[in-house]
Symmetry: C2
Subunit: 174 residues, 2 copies
């Protein structure tokens, strides 16, 4: 069976989470099975194997999972983007609009060397708002975004529109 | 130079974070450097290589980093413990005391097979309160705790006392 089909079958749908009308894609069932977990990581890795990536950048909390393994496998450093107040050193921050309200993300000012080639990794591409904010944050550090990798893409939300100009990949598409 | 010395040198001290009088160990400087990041992961991995571990269990958010890579390298499934309300399916939960106030952690009821051999992985052993709560949570799922692995141990806080009876390891000790 195709990788993407095996993996899609291992993800659980949770209706009305986190609120009524939304069907949440629960990846914990994929993660807790050693075989599907390995297969998911390898599917992302195979798309970037051999490319020169200095740093993998990921956003808390679920993004840390895929970012951490990809950084290790690509022999890259790992850079964390966190919610406001979580990073202890001097930060750059960005505030962006959510469906209701707004959110602020931060990165350490010394997280990257100048002109670092970075790969952004996250679990789900939905509206693209978070990763579009991340890309703007990375510009403040003069990073070169070599790619943006997701495990899952919810294509009906058109998230790629917000990430135009960047190479975007996803293993499973709904 | 010894692994633990190289790694300790790559960690940054942040005085008075998150509050006055506390010196925070900032591991982002270790993570963002490809060499020290790889060395840190391998130092933890080498202690469990070849052991039969069915699942690696980790706590959000920084715990996800080390848990994710260790699970991958040990060919184990990855199980997430999260703060209240973050996991979408049926959960077991545990509330435990912090220095000021309390916190609640949750795990999915179907996260582990019965008698699963698990390795708990986290970044820092401080007072041990969080991981002691995790061990009680894992008992509700009849897991067998084969080990508890930390990158850093703050020995002056006596966290091992709270984890008595379990095999505990740490790469860097302060």
């Amino acid at each position: 069976m195709k990788n993407s089909n095996v993996l899609a079958k291992s993800i659980r749908d949770i209706p009305d989470f986190p609120k009524k009308g939304i069907v949440f894609k629960d990846i914990t069932t994929l993660l807790q099975n050693a075989k599907t977990y390995k297969r998911a990581i390898d599917s992302i890795y195979n798309q970037y194997k051999g490319k020169r990536i200095d740093n993998v950048v990921c956003v808390e909390a679920r993004g840390f999972i895929f970012g951490a393994v990809l950084a290790y496998k690509l022999n890259a450093g790992l850079v964390l983007i966190r919610k406001k107040g979580k990073l202890p050193y001097k930060t750059h921050s960005i505030t962006y609009a959510l469906e209701y309200g707004k959110d602020t993300l931060e990165i350490h000012q010394d997280a990257l060397q100048k002109n670092a080639r970075v790969l952004i990794v996250d679990d789900v591409l939905a509206t693209g708002g978070t990763i579009a904010a991340v890309s703007r944050l990375l510009k403040k550090l003069n990073a070169k975004i070599s790619g943006i990798a997701f495990l899952i893409e919810l294509t009906f939300l058109d998230g790629r529109e917000k990430l135009k100009g960047y190479p975007v990949s996803a293993v499973i598409k709904y």
